[in-house]
Symmetry: D3
Subunit: 132 residues, 6 copies
Amino acid sequence: MATVKLLSDADASPAARAVFDDIRATRNTDYINNAWRALANDPVALKRTWGKAKDVMAPGALDVLTKELIYLTVSIMNSCDYCIHSHTAFARAKGMTQEQHNELLRVIGLATELNRTMTAMAVPVDERFQAR
Amino acid sequence: MATVKLLSDADASPAARAVFDDIRATRNTDYINNAWRALANDPVALKRTWGKAKDVMAPGALDVLTKELIYLTVSIMNSCDYCIHSHTAFARAKGMTQEQHNELLRVIGLATELNRTMTAMAVPVDERFQAR
Amino acid sequence: MATVKLLSDADASPAARAVFDDIRATRNTDYINNAWRALANDPVALKRTWGKAKDVMAPGALDVLTKELIYLTVSIMNSCDYCIHSHTAFARAKGMTQEQHNELLRVIGLATELNRTMTAMAVPVDERFQAR
Amino acid sequence: MATVKLLSDADASPAARAVFDDIRATRNTDYINNAWRALANDPVALKRTWGKAKDVMAPGALDVLTKELIYLTVSIMNSCDYCIHSHTAFARAKGMTQEQHNELLRVIGLATELNRTMTAMAVPVDERFQAR
Amino acid sequence: MATVKLLSDADASPAARAVFDDIRATRNTDYINNAWRALANDPVALKRTWGKAKDVMAPGALDVLTKELIYLTVSIMNSCDYCIHSHTAFARAKGMTQEQHNELLRVIGLATELNRTMTAMAVPVDERFQAR
Amino acid sequence: MATVKLLSDADASPAARAVFDDIRATRNTDYINNAWRALANDPVALKRTWGKAKDVMAPGALDVLTKELIYLTVSIMNSCDYCIHSHTAFARAKGMTQEQHNELLRVIGLATELNRTMTAMAVPVDERFQAR
């Protein structure tokens, strides 16, 4: 099920198709995944989102795989089923090994358990953790 | 404010003090931060948590800074104020630069925005994102 | 799948069927959607919920469509798949256009991105935002 | 407390100060609230965020107050204390009455209660709520 | 800080004062905690909420302490600082021991860790967990 | 769909199969549910998780059914579909009646509604709710 139509190339507006073309060229594949076909219902958001995604996920002070792992972590915390599937696949395509996936899930498990415990105890922040 | 007492060394049980000693030896500091003084109300959980934290956060298939960034990401997604302060400080102590912090927040921002959009549109998962 | 049985008219208790009848009369339709058939397992909660929903969603200081958009926003933030589908449909039935849906998702995207950034930075509240 | 420094005009980079100037001109006030002084640690994100906020929150298919109410709803669902304070104040500045605030909170309360009940019952989506 | 005024008895409307009186009589105390003074800005919601709280939290198929522990668990998962403080105090007043508090937090920690792992792995529901 | 393979007994490592054997002996059933077959991709985490689950969920200061209800509450708040299905079934197997399930959902509904209202109003914590 979906709450919006997934737009085929024929149904998409020219502005949306131009983004599809750039996705194809950038990723060197003909396949457009469902995320973009859904976003095509709002060509303005589609173009802005794709441009921002290319920019933010590019290698910089953090490498590409680290960025994917952070993206995947956010998706898990938001319980976004589509995003978990697609970004687990993307992380693997960028080199994530089974052991790295295991360690990622162990860190997430530890952190979320301790987060809830600290929140439940309303622990006051130590002065030394203040910025500067 | 807090919902449990922060236990001083004098108030903590012998089992809890033994964990405090190990924290001091492992981190090479005399300072015990509030998280452990709160957890000391449950010495069983304190010991298990400290042991697990040492194990899970040790360098492995993922390096120590990457693990800290993932821990920090979870803390931000859980809105855990104590955890955000402490793990931002820990990440800096492990070498996180201002530019890396900036990029971390940009990835989190992009991911959470797209997560909510995908969830709102209930986009079905592409067959190719299935494991194997 | 479901964790409770969806009760048909025949399986529902007389108290639950009375609510079904009021839903049919109020909405001028014979169709009872799955939400109410699931809630019928607790006739007390079913009656209270339906009464409250009619009251809270009625036009008042906020118009009916604005209330639906707020309801839908909450459902998206809670990742409630059933609620997202039903209230997207309800919002359309109350006049939501494609462009309004697009703008709704853009505002949600912006807000959730900035929310996480503010939380990550633990920005202190300006004195002037205090009530009165 | 905060995890980043709030940058004064003197401490901010020229790129950040240029955004401060545009905020002052757009809002017709000399006051820069803490959100922007924190974001100034990442001038690239500051500029992009401010530009996007101006664009997304401008009147369009949804009016300005409706957009503020949706932004505030997201902030409440994300438990973002800073965002709740600032956007409650912004909504009031854009005309939100006490009665509208009351109704907003009643809709949020109803929706989140029913969201959790539907999720707990894992109610399957009715075929008629599918897009198209 | 707060986003609404906390209403004193003098500032509250007669309808709100009547609820204050019932709270005082029911709880056998003169003290009205801040939650109700904030809710008094919407006397309709105040009355409905107080009535519902009395009804839902009364002993039934679940005893009073179990209900408090569930309420506290929800508050921890929602990161509601006010609610965590007040309902930890309420649970203690209803007999929660330190060891019960410890076990509560251990179960929450285990559950949230495993929840995130299951979500990350997108584990399909076993047929036998279907209702009936 | 899933993001990891569900490991059969044949595909699982000897370490994972040893945990499967202990699950079978402890629960007195031959059936291994999907959660453990997914976790078997990380035999270290599988062993630690199973050991911790047995320990934390054992009767103690809180009885077994109360622990299940708390686990289920966390799962509902995290929108973990797998966990909601499995732990609703587990709670029923441990004696949860329909009326207890109804009351559980009523308490969760009340709590989450009031949580969001308190968060929206940013109600300050009463001094008397401070620990000690």
